[in-house]
């Protein structure tokens, strides 16, 4: 990740986790992977969202994440510890289709101006330069839920058009997402270590909505392969509070994810 925001006070992953946690209101149901979204969710649960519920694609509903015992994957029994229910992946993903999930979190190797995410192929998929691990539940989340993309802010990742759309955002912008058949969901935010984007309500292009503390817009632009919308009303993110950081560090005392 870029090192722009690694101040003395907090690391990049701490910043991302705090930014994630702030979108998680009490009572929401989120679909997450391990790592930053899980840290954010666990922080939110401890801080002000005790009834927030986490789903994992392995088939897990409402696990109880204990400080110091963060799970290493979304698809094994450690992740299922003290869950409320275990389902097949098919059925837990069908909850997205039924509309049970308020926010899904995904990542990927590339993201483009319309929030489409690639986690499949770099280069032409018929003769790729790199075959990546793939969608997993990413396509399902992006197709069926309001989605937040967590992405390191790097030029090679923020490309005008992704090589391959694994997890569709707003596809070709405008109304194209719905025209492709995706009548629900869409990219809610893209959270990076430098800023937060949302998508312009008409064009559906990425639009800077907040800069993280100490970040200049030039740093955002210098580390992207395309120019996002830059509206007049960009705010500065509230910096992580001492309370947030203290709880977060308690959740991951061995710094498994808090690099």
């Amino acid at each position: 990740m870029g090192k722009h925001q690694a101040t003395d006070a907090y690391t990049t992953s701490e910043l991302l986790s705090v930014m994630c946690s702030r979108v998680m209101r009490d009572g929401l149901i989120i679909f997450a992977g391990v790592g930053v979204p899980l840290l954010g969710a666990t922080l939110a649960q401890r801080l002000n969202a005790p009834s927030l519920t986490i789903l994992f694609e392995g088939g897990i509903i409402g696990p109880f994440i204990q400080p110091g015992r963060l799970p290493p994957s979304t698809n094994e029994m450690r992740t299922a510890e003290k869950a409320n229910m275990l389902l097949s992946p098919t059925d837990v993903l069908a909850l997205l289709q039924r509309g049970y999930v308020d926010i899904g979190f995904i990542g990927g190797a590339q993201i483009d101006q319309y929030g489409n995410v690639n986690s499949s192929y770099l280069g032409d998929h018929r003769q790729p330069s790199t075959r990546l691990p793939g969608s997993g539940g990413g396509n399902d989340i992006a197709s069926l839920a309001e989605t937040i993309v967590i992405m390191p802010h790097e030029k090679k990742r923020f490309v005008e058009t992704v090589d391959f759309i694994t997890s569709p955002g707003y596809v070709a912008g405008g109304q194209s997402r719905a025209k492709c058949g995706l009548i629900a969901g869409g990219v809610l935010k893209v959270i990076t270590n430098l800023c937060v984007f949302d998508c312009h309500p008409q064009t559906r292009r990425l639009s800077v909505s907040a800069l993280h503390p100490g970040v200049k817009i030039d740093a955002v632009l210098d580390n992207m392969g395309f120019r996002p919308d830059i509206p007049d009303n960009i705010v500065v993110s509230e910096p992580p509070s001492l309370e947030e950081l203290s709880i977060l560090r308690g959740i991951d005392p061995t710094r498994m994810y808090l690099k």
């Binding site: 391990v34 694609e57 392995g58 088939g59 897990i60 290493p72 994957s73 698809n75 094994e76 029994m77 450690r78 299922a80 275990l86 389902l87 097949s88 992946p89 098919t90 993903l93 069908a94 997205l96 289709q97 499949s120 192929y121 998929h125 018929r126 003769q127 790729p128 330069s129 790199t130 075959r131 990546l132 691990p133 793939g134 969608s135 997993g136 539940g137 990413g138 396509n139 399902d140 197709s143 069926l144 391959f164 759309i165 694994t166 997890s167 569709p168 596809v171 194209s176 997402r177 492709c180 058949g181 995706l182 009548i183 629900a184």
Partner: protein, 315 residues
């Protein structure tokens, strides 16, 4: 009505499908056999579906034996693929791989073997969304030729498939839908904590897609940590997840998922997985082949493999 357009490769005609099922002896009979005999029933060119997920309840012994028996031209499907996929590819067993994700596991990063095979066009690789693969098995398990769904549209994924996917507008609601063709494996490999000799299988923890895979397949090869008495099954029939009539072979294989985990029996043997990762990190595909020679082809039997990796078999 939508006109008859094209047959997907994995959707055989309904009557042929029923005939294959009817030809099996599905009665309540003893199906216990050895690992090698069970795997010997798999034919070159079969579609083999693998139960479990990533490194959880993987039918590892069964896959290990497939590689040893040098099966060829298989289609292999698994919702999320870990090390077993490396061995099947590097063992030259696979013509087509269907999955939603392929890596030994997040902590070990990209699979060097899979990259080698896909990037060099040595395997037909179909990437499906995780739910899509599950729904394709489910459609097959339910005896319907497709499952309507709301995913994979707007993505590039359908363009990268051999299968040509159909879409439709719901006649009731007008909703755009993508139709996932039923996926009928020839053989399902499933590993469970306990089963009786007839093939009634019970498993604990995460269920994954195993029940749907078993009912979707023409035949099921079941490996189990333990064979229990049918009376125990009948005392808790609401815990049976796969019925005997879907199962064709039952093999007792303690630690049959090792080095992956089997809930309630053993945790993942992370160190043993690190060992394999070291081989490929150093030498890519060649490293995988070195590992396979030492760990798959050289051991006398499965227990010798377990001893080799430092896991003590009960049997």
């Amino acid at each position: 009505m939508t006109a008859h357009q094209q047959s997907a490769p994995d959707t055989p005609a309904y009557l042929a499908l029923r005939k294959r099922l009817a030809s099996r002896n599905r009665g309540l009979r003893d199906k216990t056999t050895s690992l090698s005999e069970a795997i010997a029933t798999i034919r070159d060119g079969d579609h083999v579906a693998i139960g479990g997920n990533t490194f959880s309840r993987t039918p590892f012994a069964a896959v290990w034996e497939i590689v040893r028996q040098k099966k060829k031209h298989l289609t292999v499907s698994r919702s999320i693929t870990s090390t077993e996929g490396d061995f099947l590819l590097a063992g030259d067993c696979v013509d087509k791989y269907m999955t939603s994700w392929f890596s030994q596991g997040i902590v070990w990063g990209l699979s060097r073997v899979m990259r080698d095979y896909v990037e060099n066009g040595k395997v037909t690789y179909e990437e499906w969304s995780h739910m899509s693969l599950g729904m394709m098995y489910r459609a097959a398990a339910m005896g319907i030729p497709f499952m309507p769904t709301r995913v994979m549209m707007g993505s590039t994924m359908p363009d990268a498939l051999v299968t040509k996917l159909e879409t439709m507008s719901c006649p009731y609601t007008g909703d755009p839908l993508l139709l996932l063709p039923a996926l009928y494996p020839n053989v399902a490999l499933i590993h469970v904590q306990r089963a009786d000799k007839f093939g009634n299988a019970q498993y604990d923890g995460l269920p994954f897609m195993d029940a749907d895979i078993a009912m979707a397949a023409d035949r099921v090869i079941l490996t189990t940590e333990k064979i229990i008495d049918n009376d125990e099954i009948r005392q808790a029939p609401d815990h049976t997840k796969i019925p005997f009539m879907a199962v064709d072979a039952v093999v007792e294989v303690p630690y049959g998922a090792a080095p992956h985990e089997c809930a309630g029996c053993y945790d993942p043997f992370y160190k043993r997985m690190d060992d394999y990762a070291d081989f490929t990190r150093r030498n890519g595909l060649a490293g995988a082949l070195d590992y396979m020679r030492e760990h798959i082809f050289e051991p006398r039997d499965w227990n010798a493999f377990l001893a080799k990796i430092g896991v003590e078999a009960r049997g």
